[in-house]
């Protein structure tokens, strides 16, 4: 049936040319239509946080690809500081609110948001705007200010941080999303998706005392991986991180980087960041240390990367 095949191919190529996706094009080339070949990393630029998130998730197969009906979901933003959204010390509240709403629409039974903050947790939750956005979207803010909320887990693949106390909400959930903001950081050089894990752990003091970078990389070996790392680069903090002093530290990049791979997400984010503040990725040691622990890859060439400009 040559004619039929011809029409089929023509139709597929036609559709593919509309989407202009490499995946589809290659699928056509291979004469098979693989539905599950989502990209490994999606980067979006030029939109509002909600728009960019929706677009990125669409590339990745939609929220329902990650959240199933009745599941308990945890979202872990960076809410470390008692700062307003304009200062980019915390994850963008609109982004978090949208993600909560998406999870709810996918049928999540419960969407919990928390962070082990560095300053007064109630003020951080309020002034970051995240509490309001989460509650408006039907999610739940949960405290993380007391050791009793944490349970100890083993990290068998870790080098330095062999055990860690992790928040029970995260241990008990079905799926979780890691949603950091892209920032300069005085101690860890940069704070992205792996650094954000310090907010799921109780004893952060241990990190600083036992090779900060190694411990951050170790935390990323925790067996319960986030479904996605969603790096908020709508506003980034280029200097004086992680708190920042004023809006002079903030640069509007209107970007979003999404990947299930910690190392890839952080590598891509560093490349974006370095255009503003040139930084040697080697100095952000936890990225290469995590790669050594097989948490992910820095080699973006090997990955299916999707770049979208809105």
């Amino acid at each position: 049936m040559k004619r039929r095949d011809f029409f089929k191919s023509a139709a597929i190529v036609g559709i593919a040319s509309i989407f202009k996706t490499n995946a589809l094009a290659s699928a056509v080339a291979d004469k098979k239509l693989a539905v599950h070949s989502e990209p490994d990393l999606v980067a979006v630029m030029g939109g509002q946080p909600a728009v960019m998130l929706n677009r990125a998730l669409k590339e990745l197969g939609g929220i329902s690809h990650y959240v199933k009906k009745g599941q308990r979901v945890v979202i872990k933003p960076n809410i470390g500081w008692d700062k307003t959204p304009e200062l980019a010390a915390n994850t963008n509240p609109e982004l978090i609110g949208t993600l909560v709403k998406l999870c709810k629409s996918a049928g999540a039974s419960e969407v919990i948001v928390f962070d082990h903050t560095c300053q007064d947790w109630k003020k951080c939750y309020t002034n970051s705007g995240i509490e309001k956005a989460v509650i408006a979207a039907g999610g739940k803010m949960v405290p993380a200010n007391d050791e009793s909320y944490y349970r100890e887990v083993e990290l068998p693949h870790a080098v330095s941080l062999k055990k860690a106390k992790i928040h029970q909400a995260l241990l008990d959930c079905d799926v979780w999303f890691n949603v950091p903001v892209l920032k300069h950081h005085g101690g860890a050089k940069n704070s992205i998706s792996m650094k954000n894990l310090m907010g799921i752990v109780w004893d952060r003091g241990y990190f600083h005392n036992h090779d900060l970078h190694q411990c951050i990389a170790d935390a990323a070996t925790f067996h319960k991986r986030p479904a996605l790392n969603i790096v908020d680069a709508y506003r980034i903090m280029k200097s004086n991180g992680p708190q920042g002093k004023s809006t002079s530290d903030v640069v509007m990049l209107k970007s979003l980087i999404v990947s299930p791979d910690f190392v890839a997400a952080d590598t891509a984010s560093m490349k974006l960041f370095s255009q503003v503040q040139p930084t040697d990725i080697k100095d952000v040691r936890h990225i290469s240390l995590a790669e050594k622990l097989k948490v992910g890859t820095q080699n973006l060439e090997k990955l299916k990367v999707k770049r979208i400009k809105l």
């Binding site: 007391d146 009793s148 909320y149 005085g186 002079s248 490349k271 974006l272 973006l300």
Partner: protein
């Protein structure tokens, strides 16, 4: 006339309940305006030189007597509650607890005199110890508040186990043995005295009560006894918490009457009334016994005590080795002398501090400053940059009001860095926790070696908030710590970063 008692009870509760709740509230949900209820307390008003309040309280006392003691003073109402409980447990047919008792004049006037003289001589230690409002503040914050937090935390623990996070755990009040002991001691004294003898504490120990007693001797309105109607049955005396009605001799000791109005309804002959004092030729106001000798003894005793006290203060403040380091006063304290002489250790700022960095002092300010607040940093506990609650609630003026912008540049201490203890130096690993937490970037990271960075302090922009010390992983002796300023000064404003104005259109990968 009987309605007066109800008015008194309602008024008391209107003052008492908000004050108790305000002190206990550990959620920060109650409005901070409530502190105004505390500015109208006698000693805070005097110390903060709040003339309007002082005038109002003075006129009130001159008109009606000790309304302050009966309704406004939380320790007074606390005694009424305790006394009521005492009566509740008493067997009915037993002899009444209350009956006329002679005033303990020597004791009460000595205490008053010593307190006043000591204060004039520059030691506010007795004011701190004896101010009834502050005593109540200490009792509530050191005893009742921890209890409330325990209950909350217990419930929160049970609920969070079931996935319910409506309640959350609150850090327990840190235990300072000396401050606790002082509070507990007064709790016992006040509770036992009021349990068995009503307002005995007010009329014997409290210097505010004693001085208002002097005023109420001449107050325009007072409780009076109609000699002709009274048959000395003693029913009124059995109701009198102050034990100041001498029904046999048909006399009332105005100086001890706290206007509770309980007696009004007890008299079947309507012989007891609350009325205008100077309406007619009254039986001449009680002539005091010739007091010259007593006064002499009293005054000399007072002077001696004061001198002794003043000397202990000197002795202790000269002994710096007692302090591990200079204490850090809350922002707005301006200088050590002002702060120590104006703070009554009422604990309001301690209970309101959202970071719980304010703690009652043990001997940091010397023996006369026990329970005055100071900053004590520990993990995650430091002075929040965007907060000025302590200075805005202080009722005594020990902490002067600081608008937030001013507080952000008020240097209460300075961070000191000891390289030899820093983990970057000892372990040769990155850390930067101090700089990370520094709100002004007075503590910032500078290149060290092998791509590592190490902290450096720019002292003139440091405000001494202690964020760096609180988070420094070097323990037990942090590599960075704050030394308190004896005089709080203005810090320089931190310089802002250079703005980045170029447009980025590429991902960079």
């Amino acid at each position: 006339m009987k309605f007066l008692k109800s008015v008194r009870v309602v008024l008391s509760l209107l003052f008492f309940l908000p004050i108790v709740l305000f002190f206990i509230d550990f959620t920060g949900k109650l409005p901070t305006h409530l502190h105004q209820l505390l500015s109208i307390q006698w000693i805070p008003a005097l110390l903060s030189l709040n003339f309007i309040v002082v005038l109002v309280l003075f006129v009130l006392s001159l008109l009606f007597g000790r309304i302050y003691c009966s309704s406004i003073c939380p320790l007074g109402v606390f005694q009424d509650i305790s006394s009521r409980k005492g009566g509740f447990f008493k067997k009915k047919n037993k002899k009444s607890r209350f009956n006329y008792a002679k005033p303990k004049n020597i004791l009460r006037y000595s205490i008053l005199a010593v307190t006043v003289i000591a204060f004039i001589a520059g030691s506010s230690s007795l004011v701190l110890l004896l101010d009834p409002y502050s005593t109540f503040g200490r009792i509530t914050s050191q005893l009742f508040r921890p209890l409330a937090i325990w209950i909350n935390n217990g419930l929160a623990y049970v609920l969070s186990g079931m996935g319910n996070y409506t309640l959350y755990k609150v850090e327990q009040v840190s235990f300072v043995p000396l401050a606790f002991s002082v509070s507990f001691l007064f709790f016992i004294i006040v509770a036992v005295m009021s349990w068995s003898k009503g307002r005995l504490y007010c009329n014997t120990i409290c210097p505010v009560g004693t001085s208002l007693g002097l005023l109420s001797k001449i107050s325009v309105f007072h409780i009076s006894m109609d000699d002709s109607a009274c048959n000395s049955c003693g029913a009124c005396a059995k109701q009198c918490k102050s034990q100041c009605i001498d029904s046999k001799n048909k006399k009332i000791d105005d100086s001890r009457c706290v206007d509770c109005f309980n007696c009004l309804s007890s008299c079947k002959k309507d012989a007891i009334k609350f009325e205008y004092r100077y309406k007619k030729q009254n039986s001449a106001i009680q002539e005091d016994i010739n007091n010259t000798r007593r006064t002499f003894l009293l005054a000399s005793g007072a002077v001696l005590t004061t001198v002794a006290l003043a000397n202990t203060k000197k002795l202790i403040s000269s002994n710096d080795s007692m302090l591990t380091r200079k204490p850090i006063m809350p922002p707005g304290a301006s200088n050590l002398e002002h702060f120590n002489s104006h703070c009554t250790g009422c604990q309001l700022c301690v209970t309101k501090c959202p970071m719980q960095v304010l703690k009652p002092a043990a001997l940091q300010y010397g023996i006369t400053g026990i329970t005055q607040p100071h900053l004590a940093f520990s993990t995650h506990i430091f002075c929040s940059y965007d907060c000025n609650i302590c200075s805005s609630v202080c009722p005594t003026g020990a902490l002067q009001r600081l608008p937030l912008e001013e507080k952000k540049v008020t240097q209460i201490g300075v961070a000191h860095f000891r390289k030899q203890k820093c983990v970057v130096f000892t372990n040769e690993r990155d850390c930067g926790a101090c700089s990370e937490h520094c709100p002004t970037q007075a503590v910032h990271m500078i290149p060290y070696k092998n791509g590592l960075t190490i902290p450096e302090v720019t002292e003139d922009i440091c405000i001494g908030c202690g964020a760096c010390e609180s988070i420094c992983p070097a323990r037990p002796y942090q590599a960075i710590y704050v030394e308190g300023n004896e005089t709080q000064v203005k810090a320089k404003k931190p310089t802002e970063a250079k703005k980045f104005n170029k447009k980025i259109d590429n991902f960079g990968f």
